[in-house]
Symmetry: C2
Subunit: 239 residues, 2 copies
């Protein structure tokens, strides 16, 4: 397969490496009762926050706003969500702590074992819309063995902007096809392929909870298709 | 001491973390005889290459040239050095390999032990004029446990430009004084202190060889002064 020329594996992070929905809901499960809204489903509030993710980045992608790191966008959208549900008594410290819930997400169960094997042969980095501090704090807390923290912030462009993929290959001093995006999202892989990167799909069928309908399978003939990171490592000869 | 508020230790790399002079000379010791110049001292050629380091960056700092990553500046200065010594028969592959000698530098003997201890309490990253691929390849090869690869390239400014220090603190989402530069160079520390960072001096008295005359001691009252990284860890309560 085309994976033979690949030197670096770069990973979508939210959904592909970490289970953002459970992680954010876990923090709301403590926050909501403390602020008088024990009646709300923490998963539903997590979904509300996440729904403001693409619109926030779109302001930057469209050029209406200069590139702004995700921690800032997350904070703005958090304040909108809390306003909608009538929570107005959170302190600055509480808000900052809750906003950093994205720094405290846990990896899916196969991630650490898979990456520790993949690392023997490949350069590993996130290629995420998360900012450097977010991704690095997440990695330090969960012991994710990245070789560098890449993604939107170092290249000042948000996926699926073409530059986000091409400039990442430039930063790595590699040809685009020598860099493979690993993602659980077919649209991310389509944009990566358009930019010349190699592509690997790993299904995360519960990213959006038990009723997920999208991204259950590979929709295009990606260069690799794996059930999880350990399976990907095995397919690449690492076990 | 002022180190109590520090959350991240960021490291000058060439000279402070790695012994660039021995590493570059080691590669010239193989390259020069292969190209008919066994008569030259590989350390002297390494020094010649390094002398073009500051002038190359100064073109970018002055604004005469847009920010250009160090691998490119190194390649340009390498070609100048080889021209001066009459080597014109090196292939593109040879030149690229030699240029990446900076990716293959070894840490000083105390570095890995010291960083493994410091890592338990601090966020660790290079704050180097080296580019991301250079620093990350160096770290992967030598198993340097950085939490992120920071420095000139992510912030598009070369030390000692003030922005290189202040933007690095911004990327970390920390106040400048919460970030401590560790360096073997008093001028780097002066610029970091002017930008609000905390400062730690570690002497590297043989960086420039046995006859070194500069940076043998701390010239200002830095927040910490240590003999090596293990000593720094010990001073910070980690041993």
């Amino acid at each position: 397969m085309a994976m033979q020329q690949v030197k670096a594996l770069v990973f979508d992070t939210f959904g592909t490496v970490v289970d953002w929905r459970s992680g954010i809901a876990r923090e709301f499960a403590a926050f909501l009762p403390a602020h008088g809204r024990a009646d709300l489903d923490p998963f539903a509030v997590a979904d509300s926050w996440r729904r403001l993710y693409q619109p926030g980045m779109e302001e930057c992608r469209s050029g209406r706003r200069p590139f702004t790191r995700l921690d800032v966008l997350h904070r703005e959208s958090l304040e909108k969500v809390l306003k909608e549900i009538g929570i107005t008594d959170a302190s600055e410290g509480d808000l900052d702590h809750l906003n950093r819930a994205w720094h405290r997400l846990d990896p899916w169960p196969d991630v650490l074992l898979g990456l520790s094997r993949l690392r023997r042969k490949y350069f590993l980095a996130p290629l995420s819309n998360g900012n450097i501090a977010l991704l690095a704090n997440m990695a330090k807390r969960a012991m994710i063995p990245w070789d560098a923290i890449l993604g939107a912030e170092p290249v000042q462009a948000y996926k699926p902007q073409r530059e986000c993929y091409t400039r990442t290959a430039e930063v790595l001093a590699m040809e685009p096809h020598e860099v493979c995006l690993v993602a659980a999202h077919n649209d991310d892989l389509r944009a990566a392929r358009m930019a010349g990167l190699s592509t690997a799909f790993v299904a995360r069928p519960t990213e959006h909870g038990p009723g997920q309908t999208k991204n259950l399978t590979a929709e295009d003939p990606w260069d690799a298709v794996a059930t999880d990171f350990v399976d990907l490592a095995k397919q690449l000869g690492l076990d």
